[in-house]
């Protein structure tokens, strides 16, 4: 399970672990360098989810990716959630822990969505406070993912990438750049995805996500139920040229294909990275 890059190119290429593929990963070694688990799915008391997690973790490095921290909530973070996340982090010993730059509800309500923040100094203070709290509990930097968005706010004072750069500067957190999300938001809000990539601090990116989306003509929806499209592969090339090697994974959450099919798609990412980075080295 190695990449074509040699030891200088880090952890390699991963997939999101999904229940449909538990048996594949248990039955025999798969050509996947690491797995990303949705933290929330394993913040349970026991049973099959944790048993499968432990069994598969024994053979694969893992990263943890959460969907419910609500790092941009004005109310601050849920301490019980953080406590359970820390317990899981100690169990999994992941390479890194990520969640989304978003908010998911206030005043004890949960919208179960990744709602975008306004990019204001006030929101920056809230996010900074919350990231620091999470990092204090986790005792490690958090990686924040850019979300796909369908609204922008009149009150925003800066771009999303400027906001991300400010959060990194203020907290020392890392970034999980979702290349598909950049593409979706750029389309929906008519900004340049290249500006986004070039606006993010160079050394802050811990991981790339690649995924598919749904094209509704006048807007795109981040559905994770399609293969990665050509435009997103092109943006991935740009990102590799800009950032160099970054651990990359395919994120598929619906209409999940067989593991061999996903591995084929992951191999496309390997091939592109091999091509771009070897060309870059040669230059």
């Amino acid at each position: 399970m190695t990449t074509g890059f040699g030891p200088g190119f880090g952890p390699g290429f991963g997939l999101g672990l999904r229940t449909q593929h538990y048996n594949d990963f248990i039955a025999e070694p798969q050509p996947v360098d690491w797995l990303e688990v949705i933290s929330d799915n394993y913040m349970v008391d026991g049973g099959k989810p944790l048993a499968m997690l432990d069994q598969i973790r024994a053979n694969y490095p893992m990263v943890m990716h959460g969907v419910s921290m609500s790092i941009g909530s004005i109310n601050g973070l849920d301490k019980e959630y953080l406590r359970k996340l820390k317990i899981l982090e100690q169990r999994v010993e992941p390479m890194w822990v990520s969640d989304h730059l978003c908010w998911s509800g206030v005043h004890g309500r949960n919208l179960h969505d990744l709602l975008p923040l306004p990019y204001t100094q006030e929101a920056l203070q809230v996010v900074t406070r919350n990231v620091e709290q999470a990092q204090e509990v986790l005792q490690r930097p958090l990686a924040l993912e850019n979300v796909s968005s369908y609204v922008e706010y009149e009150m925003s004072e800066m771009t999303e990438w400027e906001f991300l750069a400010e959060v990194v500067q203020a907290t020392g957190c890392q970034l999980l750049l979702d290349i598909n999300n950049i593409y979706v938001s750029a389309f929906n809000h008519d900004f340049s995805p290249t500006s986004f990539i070039e606006g993010v601090p160079l050394d802050s990116v811990a991981q790339f996500h690649l995924a598919g989306h749904l094209n509704n003509g006048d807007h795109l929806i981040d559905t994770h139920d399609h293969p990665v499209c050509d435009d997103v592969w092109d943006l991935y090339r740009q990102a590799l040229l800009h950032f160099g090697y970054v651990p990359t994974m395919i994120e598929r959450d619906d209409n999940i294909p067989s593991l061999p099919e996903l591995i084929d798609e992951l191999n496309v990412a390997r091939g592109i990275a091999d091509d771009v980075l070897n060309t870059k080295i040669a230059l």
Partner: protein, 269 residues
């Protein structure tokens, strides 16, 4: 107040309120500059996603109930539940906690529906409930001389009471068969639900076994009750089932409980 001076708290309150509203009305704090998409259409994406996501969770959690009701009826009731029950859970899987009770109120003439839903719910909760060491025959034999000890059930164990042939209906649906016509039972039955290995299990209970399990859960001791505030299990069963050879019956039950893995290795004196 001009939107440029809007505070984050106001925005998050307004956004959340907009998603909980009975219809999506749009908002003046959303920028409409790109692609000519209206604020209403942009907000609509989140408004619909919130509802679809929660209805999907209910469909997944209450699979047998949904098949019994059919897609249209289930979706209609699920949407009503979503509209009237904002989620308070970090774990989206817990969102259906009040759905069986909601069904009982919404469908007062079809009580079997809420019984099916409660069974779906309890089986799902058993799936990822807490682990524990299961009591073996050897564990039990080691404690056999100490009549005052208490048995403990595994943490996933629970029961529910059914007044209709809901268990038969659930089983038929589970086997892709046409469910039987609903019938009220002459006498209610208790269903035992727990996890064995990785799989949720269930079975109906005879009255005496139901009473015995209730005693175990309540902390009644197995034998000698000196110093205990509760009567022993044997004493309770002998009072409630005077025509039964309780000692023999309880021995049979204990063996079955060990086979079913419903007893935890945790015990105390």
């Amino acid at each position: 107040m001009p939107v440029t001076y809007m505070k984050l708290a106001e925005l998050q309150n307004d956004f959340q309120r907009a998603l909980f509203d009975t219809e999506c009305k749009g908002a003046d704090w959303i920028s409409e500059s790109a692609r000519g998409l209206s604020a209403r259409k942009r907000l609509d994406i989140y408004y619909n996603a919130y509802r679809l996501r929660l209805v999907d969770v209910l469909l997944d959690t209450f699979e047998h109930t949904a098949i019994y009701l059919g897609d249209d009826w289930f979706n209609q009731i699920a949407m009503e539940y979503v509209q009237s029950h904002p989620s308070t859970y970090k774990n989206i899987g817990l969102y259906g906690k009040d759905f069986p009770g909601f069904l009982a109120k919404q469908l007062p003439l079809d009580k079997e529906v809420s019984e099916l839903a409660l069974m779906d719910w309890k089986l799902r909760r058993a799936f990822d409930g807490a682990d524990s060491c299961v009591m073996t025959l050897e564990d039990l034999q080691l404690l056999a001389g100490n009549e005052g000890f208490r048995l403990h059930t595994v943490p996933t164990l629970t029961t529910c009471t059914q007044h209709f042939n809901s268990l038969e209906i659930w089983n038929a649906i589970n086997q892709d068969q046409t469910p039987p016509v609903v019938e009220q039972l002459p006498e209610s039955i208790d269903i035992l639900i727990w996890r064995k290995g990785h799989s949720p299990h269930f079975r109906s209970l005879a009255k005496i076994e139901s009473a015995a399990i209730a005693c175990v859960c309540a902390g009644n001791t197995l034998g000698d009750t000196r110093g205990a505030t509760l009567e022993s299990i044997g004493t309770v069963l002998e009072k409630d089932f005077p025509d039964v050879d309780v000692a023999t019956e309880f021995g049979v039950m204990l063996h079955r409980w060990l086979d079913d893995e419903i007893l935890s290795a945790t015990s105390d004196m």
